[in-house]
Amino acid sequence: MTKTNLPPAEDDPHPEHSRDAPLSIHDLTVAYHRKPVIWDIDLDLPEGKLIAVVGPNGAGKSTLLKACLDLIPRVSGDIRVYGKPYRQQRSLIGYVPQRESVDWDFPVSALEVVTMGVYGSIGWFRPVLRKHRAKAQEALEKVGIGHLAGRQISQLSGGQQQRVFLARALAQEAQLYFMDEPFAAVDAATERAIVALLRELQQQGKTCLVVHHDLATVARYFDHVILLNMRVVAAGPTAEVFHNENLQKTYGGKMPLLEEAGQALRQNLS
């Protein structure tokens, strides 16, 4: 045991954290090759909200998501999902990775990719059955591309590929969703479809943590926002924390982005 200072899971180690927040992160630090990229992260996500993670390129947004999902090792930090350690709560979590993270030339159809979302509930040594495929088909219909189920995935447009990933997350039937840039390079129609989907998830009491790049739409789409640049600059309800000063602290020194932020604010005010 390296973490001897960690108390047993039964009693609440951090009384200041709410016990059954969908996600509570305590004192998280992550390093690549011994170089820390995010540190001192303390966060509690409110339940049933759409939460944006914003920050400049390289701020560590993807890293934050991956660290919570145990995909990369943590230097320190305690991650709890609905009050229990992450590993016990896997089935409650859905993940939409960045689109570039997979090889779209892989010989699988859209339906097969979506079916992967239910592999967790099928279990080892058991085959994929018709009912699993039916569930996947249903998820595809829900994101509006049911007719493309049989297509090999490289023959889909970028927006359609993004919808496949979302359908896969839907098929997971999770409570807490991690989405890494679902809005990247999609057209207006797809963007609207994704927003509608997020709203629907929210109405079902689910929590979505979404990495988002377009500052202009943050206030319209999200209830909460986490401003991240290697550490948490600010986190809270959008109306309270998404303002010029915080954006400057987050994007500080990057002029073009600062201008963009200013524009976003002007748009919000008007």
Partner: protein, 318 residues
């Protein structure tokens, strides 16, 4: 042309090697890790030599375990070097397997002073000689059925690989396509990676004695890559990969028997011709594959051009 029972055995052994190799081979191709097959099949050399030097015996089981372990170590070292040393995976594979291969050659040359452990045989194998080395695998049942040892070894490996593929089909599929998602679903992609690498190592070692390291690399990658060009489904790709392996073994050996008689070529190697045949299949697929081949791409473009030509630009647009 004269075809003996021996020739049939050679084809059967080659075909089994083809099937056994195609299974992990398809996943290597899909993970863009074809080099790993190359690396592991080179790195098993020092394993063979070390096992021999340490135990002093050429008993197959010892050599087999030694080589398979070193093969697996290649995968582990590669992973370490690329995750700790800021070196991308291709390069770290290169570092590991060239080093191990060099050590292996040194050891074999060393060992060769004591016993016949022939480096040439290691590279090219001795497919033609496999029917001569026989065992009686069912002696414990009191049966005296005599059969080539390579047939027994490769038969077992083929069955094991097929069983693993069927048992872990969806796990192999998801961890090859999206290892991060697999891990979040509780299917540890790292473990699946090492299971695949173990299959590569064991298959390589088993096939290698019969067909030599060059043909092993060819059979791991070439039929799988050929199949990849011809289909959009993973299951079809696996079937085609195995099929091309079998076809290459049959045609390759047939050519090895036929060519010397027809053209008076002296003594061509069956293993070599099997590799060449699988290469020809690949070239044919590159040219003729319906969707991903050159012809396919050409034909797919044509109707579009026709269509454009058929709708002349309206005058007001100019």
């Amino acid at each position: 042309m004269t075809w003996y029972t021996m020739d049939t055995w050679i084809v059967v052994v080659g075909a089994l090697a083809g099937i056994a190799c195609a299974i992990p081979g398809c996943f290597l191709v899909l993970r863009q890790m074809s080099m790993m097959g190359d690396a592991i099949s080179h790195a098993v050399l020092p394993g063979l030599a070390l096992a021999f030097l340490i135990t002093g015996s050429r008993a197959s089981v010892t050599m087999f375990i030694g080589a398979a372990l070193i093969g697996l170590l290649t995968a582990v070292f590669t992973q370490w070097i690329s995750s700790w040393g800021k070196v991308e995976r291709g390069a770290s594979m290169g570092i590991v397997f060239t080093t191990l291969f060099a050590v292996g050659l040194l050891l074999i040359v060393q060992a060769a002073h004591h016993v016949e452990l022939d480096p040439g045989c290691v590279l090219y194998g001795a497919l033609e000689l496999t029917p001569l080395d026989t065992v009686t695998p069912l002696f414990w049942l009191g049966l005296g059925w005599e059969t080539p040892r390579a047939f027994v070894v490769l038969g077992i490996i083929t069955l094991v690989n097929l069983a693993l593929l069927l048992l872990f089909y969806k796990e192999f599929k998801i961890s090859s396509f999206d290892p991060n998602l697999a891990t979040t679903l509780g299917i540890n992609a790292q473990k699946m990676h090492y299971l695949l690498m173990s299959m590569v190592a064991v298959t390589t070692v088993a096939a290698f004695e019969a067909v030599g390291s060059i043909l092993v690399i060819a059979l791991l990658i070439v039929p799988a890559a050929t199949a990849y060009l011809l289909t959009d489904r993973l299951s079809t790709m696996l079937l085609l990969g195995g099929g091309f392996g079998v076809l290459a073994a049959a045609m390759g050996h047939f050519l090895a028997v036929w060519l010397p008689e027809v053209h008076g070529l002296p003594d061509v190697s069956s293993a070599g011709l099997v590799a060449v045949t699988s290469g020809i299949f690949f070239a044919a697929a590159v040219l003729l594959a319906p969707r991903y081949g050159m012809l396919g791409k050409f034909l797919n473009r044509r109707p579009l051009k026709k269509h454009k030509a058929a709708t002349p630009l309206s005058p007001e647009k100019t």
